[in-house]
């Protein structure tokens, strides 16, 4: 791939060695040795600096969740390179992986499913500390309260004894975030953490993530399908399509001057869903465009400082309707 990871990390804020470097990540699913193998992720490369929030944008089936799972070492069939704090993650033994997992944490999409229904909030938040045998009883108790206060579940004593079913959806997701924060990880992977929540609760969660980044310097990989949401949280965004990265750059640059046609299509859709005051002028959404882009071999090229795009039509300022003849 064309992207030079050392350059990407120096161009990201808060440089001082990248926290996470993913290079040429490939993940294939399907029956081993049979022809039915499906490439879920192909040649994905990106980096995250400490204290940086990278948004990974894509629609369902684009492979964005698979990237996160591969970073966590939860996917066995990943090839390429995933370096976390300078250490290669792919191919690590189960035992070594368990140690690394203290430093990175996953927040799931569905807060109704990701909390054990039979455990109290205290036990849920404490679990990671127990697994890694961190602290004694008193210090754990203090860490639990601190983590709960940090996600605005105050006073924490009101919540520690509750079971998940006694909490609202927003509160559950906060518990999930508190669980992720309690060991003070270096990197948090958040997989659509707000997509199941009501609009009015989303901003609360985003606020917590931002604040935590500011105070603890945690890096985030924030996975979402919503560019508007990413704009409010992320320093940089990476757009995925059909298992590949098609565009990567500072959020404002990507939103203001989207280069790849697919990014433009996504933005157009977001604008169309946005309130009616925004102008309708933009790029037409083509129903078949998505499939045809997916087949294009893409290498990322840097077109502006830190702004990379897969070379397809990006040089053409006026976008013609993409060809559709081969899809039906």
């Amino acid at each position: 791939m064309m992207m030079n990871e050392s350059r990407s990390s120096t161009s990201s804020p808060g440089s001082g060695g990248p926290l996470l470097e993913v290079k040429d990540l490939d993940v294939c699913f399907g029956a081993r040795g049979r022809s039915g193998e499906v490439a879920a992720v192909r040649g994905v490369s990106f980096g995250i600096a400490p204290g940086e929030i990278l948004g990974l944008i894509g629609e369902s089936g684009s492979g964005k969740t698979t990237v996160a799972r591969a970073v966590m070492g939860l996917v066995r069939s990943a090839t390429g390179s995933v370096r976390f704090e300078g250490r290669e993650m792919l191919g690590l033994s189960e035992r070594a992986l368990r140690k690394v997992r203290r430093r990175l944490h996953l927040v799931f999409q569905d807060p109704y499913d990701s909390l054990h229904p039979g455990m109290r909030v205290r036990e849920i938040v404490e679990e990671a500390m127990k697994i890694h045998r961190v602290g004694d009883r008193a210090s754990r108790e203090a860490a639990i309260s601190a983590a709960l206060e940090e996600v605005d579940l105050t006073p924490s004593s009101r919540f520690t004894g509750r079971y998940p079913h006694q909490l609202s959806g927003g509160q559950r997701q906060r518990v999930a975030v508190a669980r992720a924060m309690v060991l003070d990880p270096a990197l948090v992977l958040a997989d659509e953490p707000t997509s199941m929540l009501d609009l009015s609760l989303r901003s609360g969660i985003l606020e917590i993530l931002k604040r935590h980044r500011d105070t603890h310097g945690t890096g985030y990989l924030f996975i979402t399908h919503d560019l508007a949401l990413a704009r409010h949280l992320c320093d940089r965004v990476a757009v995925m399509l059909g298992g590949r990265l098609v565009e990567l750059g500072p959020t404002e640059a990507v939103v203001a001057t989207p280069l790849h046609p697919y990014t433009r299509m996504l933005l157009q859709a977001v604008e169309e869903l946005a309130p009616p005051s925004s102008s309708r002028a933009g790029y037409p959404i083509n129903d078949q465009a998505q499939e045809s882009y997916a087949t294009i071999a893409s290498g990322l090229q840097e077109v502006a400082p830190g702004h990379y795009v897969a070379c397809y039509e990006m040089s053409q300022p006026t976008l013609d309707r993409p060809t559709t003849e081969k899809e039906e």
Binding site: M72, R98, V100, D113, E127, I131
Partner: protein, 294 residues
């Protein structure tokens, strides 16, 4: 009858038998091992259910026999459920070759003809209660194992299991802390079911004369009744019917308990739950998920 009512009725009947078993020496009017009246005596005030062929009091026999029947039921159920839950959880959670090997084992046991095999084993190993429990237990764990495994398959995909894995938890930790609590209601229901089956099997074996000849059980009473042709005389009323009713009552009480427990596991059996989604008026029926529990 609602599930909770059934559960309560079942528990009450079962409790009566447990009390009878525990306090047998106090409750029984005579020592069942002693000859206390004429052989084949008809019911009288002193011997409400008459006497058997050697003059032992049948009511006392019946009360003491509940000890063996219940013990066999509980111990065997413990054995089979623990084995079944362990195999089901390990297989369902780890998947892969471990699962394949375990499930092939389950298949083999499920395909064996139960009763003939047990008769052969019981005859071969010798007629004592420990062997009986081992034989029954080792043959009936397969069904619970299969059922528990199918639920584990869905639990392992749930978010909190993934979260625990991502946190760095070991497989053992996840199985004990995350998977086991989620399948506990199913395990409890299977325990009851297995206890039921083993009481029936014990009675069957004893009726065929394959139980410990020195221990009284309801099946054994029936065996002697049959051997002394009680089925052909008036004696069936006090010699055959009572043990038969005891077996039936215990089995029914276990079945009631099991139903109440299963209803708590499977909300679709609960009748008064609001359905979440109305289907459109012109729509087609909603697909019903394959039932994983029966």
């Amino acid at each position: 009858m609602s599930g909770t009512r059934m559960g309560r009725v079942g528990a009450t009947i079962l409790l009566l038998f447990v009390v009878a078993a525990v306090f047998a020496p106090i409750l029984a009017p005579h020592d069942p091992a002693l000859r206390t009246t004429q052989p084949f005596a008809a019911p009288s005030f002193a011997h409400p259910l008459g006497a058997n062929d050697v003059g032992q009091d049948i009511l006392s026999e019946l009360i003491f026999a509940s000890r063996l029947s219940l013990t066999v039921g509980f111990v065997t159920a413990c054995l089979a459920t623990i084995l079944g839950a362990a195999v089901g959880i390990v297989g369902g959670y780890l998947r892969g070759p471990v699962d394949t090997v375990l499930m092939r084992g389950v298949d083999v046991i499920l395909s064996l003809p139960f009763l003939p095999l047990m008769i052969v084993l019981a005859a071969f190993l010798g007629q004592n209660t420990t062997n009986l429990i081992l034989v029954i237990g080792l043959l009936i764990w397969a069904r619970p194992a299969r059922l528990i495994r199918s639920q584990v398959l869905s639990v392992r995909e749930s978010g909190h299991v993934q979260a625990a894995r991502a946190m760095g938890a070991t497989h053992g930790y996840v199985m004990v802390r995350h998977v086991l609590p989620r399948v506990t209601p199913l395990v409890a229901a299977q325990f009851v079911r297995t206890a039921n089956v083993s009481i029936m099997l014990e009675a069957s074996l004893a009726f065929l004369g394959l139980s410990d000849p020195f221990q009284k059980s309801w099946g054994a009473i029936l065996f002697y009744a049959n051997a002394r042709s009680a089925f052909l005389t008036d004696a069936w009323l006090w010699w055959v019917l009572p043990p038969g009713l005891c077996i039936a009552a215990v089995v029914v009480s276990f079945a009631f308990l099991g139903y109440a427990l299963e209803e708590r596991v499977d909300p679709r059996l609960r009748s008064t739950l609001p359905t979440s989604e109305p289907s459109s008026g012109s729509g087609t029926p909603m697909p019903v998920r394959e039932d994983a529990l029966r």
